[in-house]
C-alpha cells in the first residue's frame, strides 16, 4: 500500500522512469565494494611482524597488546595474520587476497592524525584542499565515467551515513540499507475521498521547486521507485552462504543479494565502526577483526558460488594506522601508516609494501614526543592503490588524467601497482 502510493507520485515523472529500469544491468560490468574501517584500524595488530628481529621489537613496544607469537598465522616468513582473521587465510592461499602494508596519505597533509581530515584525503583523493565540501573521488569517477547522474542504480551504501567518498554536486541517488521498507509515503485520511484530496495537493507540493529551494527534488521520487524495485528483486534472492549476523555481515549480505539480483549497482560502500581503540584495545579490536574476516569470507564465498569472482573487487580502507607503542590505557593512539586488504578474482595474492622496521623505532619510543610515530613512514600512497583498481579492474585507461582532475592545483603522479593482474 505504501509503495503503491509512491508509485502513484512517481508516475508523474514517468518519462524518467522509463530510462531507469533495473533491467539495464550489464552482466559483465566490474563491481567495486569499499569497506571503511572507521576510527583508524591498528595495522600492526592486524598483520603483525613475526620474524626474530621485528617481533621482539613489537613485543617491547606493546608489552600488553602484542599478539603471542604462537597465535599469529604466518603469511610468509616475516608476517602473520592476527588470529581472528583466520577465515581470510584460505583466500590468501588461493591467491585472491592482497595485503598492502605501510599505506597512507602524504606526510605533507595538514592535521595529520585528525580523523576527519585524513578520512577526507582518503575519500576525495585531494591532498591540497582538504574540506568536508570537497567532492568524493568515487563520486567524480561515477559522474565522469559511468554517467552517474543518469543511472539511479549505481551506488548502494550499507549505513545511514553517506560518505564523502560518494559526495558530489551532481545529485545521484543512493539506497541505504535501513530504508528497505521505508520508501512509501502515506498521508493518512480516513476515507478514500479525503486520501485522494490529500494526495492531489501533496503532489503539487512535491512538484514545487522554486529557484531558491532545492529540498524534495523530484528526482528523489523517481529514483525512489527504481531503488525500491531493485530492493524488491534483491529480496527475492537467497544468499548461497550464511552471512554472520553482525553489523558488517548484514551490510555485505545486502550487497551480495543486490549483486546476485544483477540490478546494476557498480559501487558499494560498507562501514565497520569503532576502530578508534584508545583504550582497552584487546577487548575490542579482536572482535572487530573477527567481524571483518567472517563477513568478508562469507561474501567472497557467496560471490565464488555465483561465479562472480572476476567481476568483483573488495577494498578495505581506514583513515590511518595506530602508533607502534601502546599507551597507558592499554590502547593505541593515532598513528601514521596503515594497511589495506584487497580481495578479488583479478588480484595477485600476496604481501605488498612493508612497515617501517620496528627495531628502528623501538629505541625512539621514550624520546618525547612520540618519535616512534613520526619516524614511521607510509611508503605506499593511497592514490596508487586507487589507480591500480581503476585501471586494472574498472578499466579506466588514463588514470593520470583522472587524478589530475581530482587535484587541479597540485597534481601528483600516480603509478598503478602490481597487486592486480
Amino acid at each position: 500500500m505504501q509503495r503503491r502510493q509512491l508509485l502513484q507520485f512517481a508516475s508523474l515523472f514517468s518519462l524518467s522512469l522509463a530510462l531507469n529500469s533495473p533491467a539495464r544491468a550489464n552482466t559483465e560490468d566490474p563491481i567495486l565494494v569499499m569497506v571503511y574501517l572507521k576510527g583508524g584500524n591498528d595495522a600492526l595488530n592486524t598483520v603483525t611482524p613475526i620474524d626474530n628481529v621485528q617481533y621482539p621489537a613489537y613485543q617491547t613496544m606493546r608489552p600488553n597488546l602484542a599478539w603471542p607469537l604462537a597465535d599469529l598465522i604466518p603469511l610468509n616468513s616475516t608476517l602473520g595474520l592476527a588470529p581472528p582473521l583466520e577465515p581470510l587465510l584460505k583466500h590468501f592461499d588461493a591467491g585472491q587476497l592482497a595485503v598492502l602494508l605501510g599505506t597512507g596519505v602524504p606526510r605533507t597533509t595538514p592535521s595529520l592524525f585528525a580523523h576527519n581530515d585524513q578520512r577526507t584525503v582518503w575519500e576525495t583523493g585531494n591532498v591540497t584542499s582538504i574540506t568536508p565540501t570537497q567532492k568524493g573521488w568515487l563520486a567524480q569517477y561515477l559522474t565522469n565515467y559511468l554517467g552517474g547522474s543518469n543511472n539511479p542504480l549505481l551506488v548502494f551504501e550499507g549505513t545511514a551515513e553517506i560518505p564523502q567518498l560518494l559526495s558530489s554536486d551532481t545529485l545521484y541517488p543512493t539506497g541505504a540499507m535501513r530504508t528497505l521498507d521505508q520508501y512509501g509515503i502515506d498521508l493518512g485520511g480516513l476515507t478514500p475521498e479525503d486520501q485522494q484530496l490529500r494526495s492531489t495537493v501533496f503532489n503539487r507540493i512535491l512538484g514545487y521547486a522554486p529557484r531558491s529551494l532545492t529540498l524534495y527534488p523530484t528526482q528523489w521520487l523517481r529514483y525512489g521507485n527504481t531503488i525500491s524495485d531493485s530492493f524488491d528483486l534483491a529480496a527475492q534472492t537467497e544468499p548461497t552462504v550464511a552471512y554472520p549476523a553482525s553489523d558488517l555481515g548484514r551490510q555485505l549480505e545486502s550487497v551480495g543479494r543486490l549483486i546476485q539480483a544483477n540490478t546494476g549497482q557498480r559501487i558499494f560502500w560498507c562501514e565497520l565502526a569503532d576502530f578508534d581503540t584508545h583504550a582497552d584495545q584487546n577487548n575490542n579490536h579482536p572482535g572487530l577483526l573477527a567481524d571483518l574476516a567472517g563477513s568478508l569470507d562469507a561474501f567472497w564465498t557467496d560471490m565464488g558460488n555465483l561465479g562472480l569472482h572476476n567481476r568483483v573487487v573488495v577494498v578495505t580502507y581506514s583513515e590511518f594506522g595506530r602508533r607502534p607503542s601502546e599507551n597507558s590505557a592499554l590502547g593505541t593512539d593515532h598513528g601514521m601508516a596503515g594497511m589495506n586488504f584487497v580481495l578479488g578474482g583479478k588480484v595477485k595474492g600476496g604481501v605488498y609494501g612493508s612497515y617501517t622496521p620496528l627495531n628502528w623505532l623501538v629505541g625512539l619510543r621514550y624520546t618525547p614526543p612520540f618519535y616512534d610515530n613520526l619516524a614511521t613512514t607510509a611508503g605506499m600512497e593511497f592514490y596508487n592503490i586507487y589507480a591500480t583498481i581503476l585501471q586494472k579492474h574498472m578499466g579506466l585507461v588514463n588514470v593520470q588524467s583522472f587524478f589530475n582532475m581530482l587535484n587541479p592545483t597540485k597534481p601528483y603522479t600516480v603509478t598503478p601497482l602490481d597487486f592486480m593482474v
Partner: protein, 479 residues
C-alpha cells in the same frame, strides 16, 4: 561527512520581513518552534522583552522537574524522555536550545560511557553553564565524569613508571579539546594552530584524573597518575609540580591563544562561529564572526555573544530567513509545539526511536564530531522518514485538532475557515504557501466539498489533513 544532497539555499522572502514575520523568525530561532501561545505573547510583549526573558531563564518557569540525583539506575530512554519533555514544555526555551547546542559541541555518547546517570549529570552541568561563561563550561567539561570516560581522560595515566621513565599519556581528550572543543584544527588564515607536540604535552597536563567506579562516581585527582614535569603547550611553559592546577593552566593558555585577527582569540573565533552556525547561517563570513567575537571577552561571555548575534543585521536580513534546516529533534519538537500534542501519548517513546533512526539520538552521539547539520538531514530516505514523522504526529490517536482551532482569533464566526487557514499558515510556513500550491491548500483541500467555509473548521479530520499537508511542505523543515 558530506552528502550528495544539493546544498541548502535560504528560503528568502522576496521583500523585507514584516514585524509579524520577524516575530515568527525570532520564535523559530530562539525556541524549538512556534506555538500559538508564544506567538500571541511575543506580539504583546515585543521582541526585545522576549529576548531578555529568554536570556534570563530564572524569570521563566519550567514545569518539568529535575530527576532525583540519589538514584543511579536510570535507563537511557528515561533520561531521553525527560529531556524531550523539558525541551517541549519549558518556557526556558533558549536555555534548552543552548543545552542542546553544547551537548552537540561537547558531543558525548552513552554507548561508550555506559552510564545514563552520568549522562544526566553532564546534561545538568551543561545546563548550569549554558548561558554563563565558556571558561567555566570548559573547566567543568574537563573534569566531567562522563567526558572523562568518553574520551579516556580517566585512562590517561602519565605518571612515573618506577623504572626511570613515565607512562605514555592517552592523547584522546587533549586532541579533541584542541580540535573540537576550543580552537578547531585550522586557524583563520588556514594555518594549523597546534601541532602534535602540543597535543602530547597537553595530554601530560590533563593526566591524573580518575572517576570512582562506584556511585556517586566522584572525580578525583591522583598525583601518581599525573606527569608532574614541565610542559610546553602552544609556546607557553606550564612549570612542573603544579598537579591538578595544570587543568587551569591549560584552559588559560587555550583561551588566550591569539588568532590571525588582532584582539580575537582562536577560541573566541571557534566558539562564536559555531554559535552563529546554530543561530544565524551555516556559512558565515569571517568578518561577521570576528565582529560577533568582539563580545566574547576573556572568559567567553555566552550571553553577551548571543545578545550580539540577536541584535546583528545578519540575524534579521531576508537572506538568512529560514536558511537553517531542522534536525530530526527540531522537526519533532516544532511539530509537538505547533500541534500542542499531549506528550504522554501511550507510545511516544517510539518517536525517540525514529529520531535515532534518522541519526539523532539524544545522549548518544556516535562520535565526538557531533551530529551532521543542514541539508545533510536530507538524504533520500530521510525525506520520506521526515514526512512520515510529521504525518504520524498530526494523526496521533486521541489528538484533538479542534482545540488548536479554538484558539485562533476569528472575526467572522459564521465562516471562519479563511482566517483559521491564514493563521495556521503563519504558524507553520510564516504565512507563505509554496508557490506551486498557492490557494490549492485552501480551496482544493481545506474547504473542498462536501465541506465549506463554514463547516471545515468543525471537522477534526479535515483540520488534521490540513496540518498534515502544511507540515509536509519543505518550508516547515526550515527555520
Amino acid at each position: 561527512m558530506s552528502t550528495q544532497t544539493l546544498s541548502p539555499k535560504p528560503l528568502a522572502a522576496t521583500t523585507a520581513l514584516t514585524s509579524d514575520q520577524l516575530n515568527q523568525h525570532f520564535l523559530n530561532r530562539l525556541t524549538f518552534g512556534i506555538s500559538i501561545n508564544e506567538y500571541k505573547a511575543i506580539a504583546q510583549k515585543g521582541r526585545d522583552r522576549f529576548i531578555e526573558e529568554q536570556l534570563t531563564p530564572s524569570v521563566l518557569t519550567d514545569p518539568v522537574a529535575d530527576l532525583p540525583l540519589d538514584r543511579y539506575d536510570y535507563s537511557l530512554q528515561e533520561i531521553q524522555s525527560w529531556w524531550i519533555e523539558k525541551m517541549y514544555k519549558s518556557e526556558r526555551q533558549l536555555l534548552e536550545k543552548m543545552t542542546l547546542f553544547w551537548h552537540n559541541f561537547f558531543a558525548t555518547g552513552n554507548h561508550r560511557v555506559k552510564n545514563p546517570y552520568l549522562m544526566y549529570v553532564q546534561n545538568q552541568t551543561i545546563r548550569t553553564n549554558a548561558l554563563y561563561t565558556f571558561r567555566n563550561m570548559l573547566t567543568s567539561m574537563s573534569i566531567d565524569p562522563a567526558m572523562l570516560i568518553w574520551l579516556h581522560g580517566q585512562d590517561n595515566n602519565a605518571g612515573y613508571n618506577g623504572a626511570g621513565g613515565y607512562y605514555a599519556p592517552n592523547e584522546n581528550f587533549s586532541r579533541e579539546v584542541l580540535q573540537r572543543f576550543s580552537m578547531g584544527a585550522k586557524s583563520i588564515a588556514g594555518k594549523t594552530v597546534y601541532s602534535e607536540v602540543d597535543i602530547h604535552e597537553g595530554a601530560r597536563a590533563w593526566s591524573g584524573w580518575v572517576v570512582n567506579p562506584e556511585p556517586p562516581y566522584a572525580v578525583t585527582f591522583d598525583p601518581y597518575r599525573h606527569d608532574g614535569r614541565d610542559k610546553l603547550v602552544l609556546g607557553t611553559l606550564i612549570p612542573g609540580g603544579a598537579g591538578q592546577v595544570d587543568v587551569q593552566s591549560m584552559i588559560n593558555i587555550i583561551m588566550a591563544y591569539p588568532s590571525a585577527v588582532p584582539g580575537i582569540t582562536q577560541c573566541a573565533y571557534w566558539v562564536c562561529r559555531r554559535l552563529i552556525q546554530a543561530f544565524v547561517t551555516g556559512n558565515p563570513v569571517d568578518s561577521y564572526v570576528n565582529t560577533i567575537a568582539q563580545s566574547f571577552g576573556p572568559d567567553g561571555d555566552i550571553k553577551a555573544v548571543l545578545r550580539a548575534i540577536f541584535a546583528s543585521t545578519e540575524f534579521q536580513i531576508t537572506t538568512n530567513f529560514r536558511c537553517l534546516t531542522k534536525a530530526p529533534v527540531d522537526l519533532y519538537l516544532s511539530s509537538l509545539r505547533l500541534l500542542e500534542l499531549d506528550f504522554h501519548t501511550p507510545d511516544h517513546e517510539r518517536y525517540l526511536d525514529r529520531l535515532a533512526i534518522q541519526g539523532q539520538e539524544l545522549f548518544n552521539h556516535l562520535s565526538v564530531f557531533g551530529w551532521q547539520a543542514g541539508s545533510k538531514w536530507y538524504s533520500f530516505p530521510d525525506v520520506i522518514e521526515r514526512l512520515n514523522l510529521t504525518r504520524d504526529l498530526c494523526t496521533e490517536p486521541g489528538y484533538a485538532p479542534l482545540d488548536l482551532v479554538a484558539q485562533v482569533p476569528v472575526t467572522i464566526p459564521s465562516a471562519p475557515a479563511g482566517e483559521v487557514y491564514q493563521y495556521l499558515l503563519k504558524l507553520t510556513l510564516q504565512g507563505m504557501a509554496p508557490s506551486s500550491v498557492g490557494s490549492m491548500l485552501y480551496n482544493d483541500y481545506f474547504i473542498a466539498a462536501p465541506l465549506s467555509k463554514s463547516t471545515a473548521t468543525k471537522d477534526p479530520e479535515r483540520v488534521r489533513g490540513l496540518l498534515t499537508l502544511l507540515t509536509a511542505c519543505p518550508e516547515f523543515s526550515q527555520y
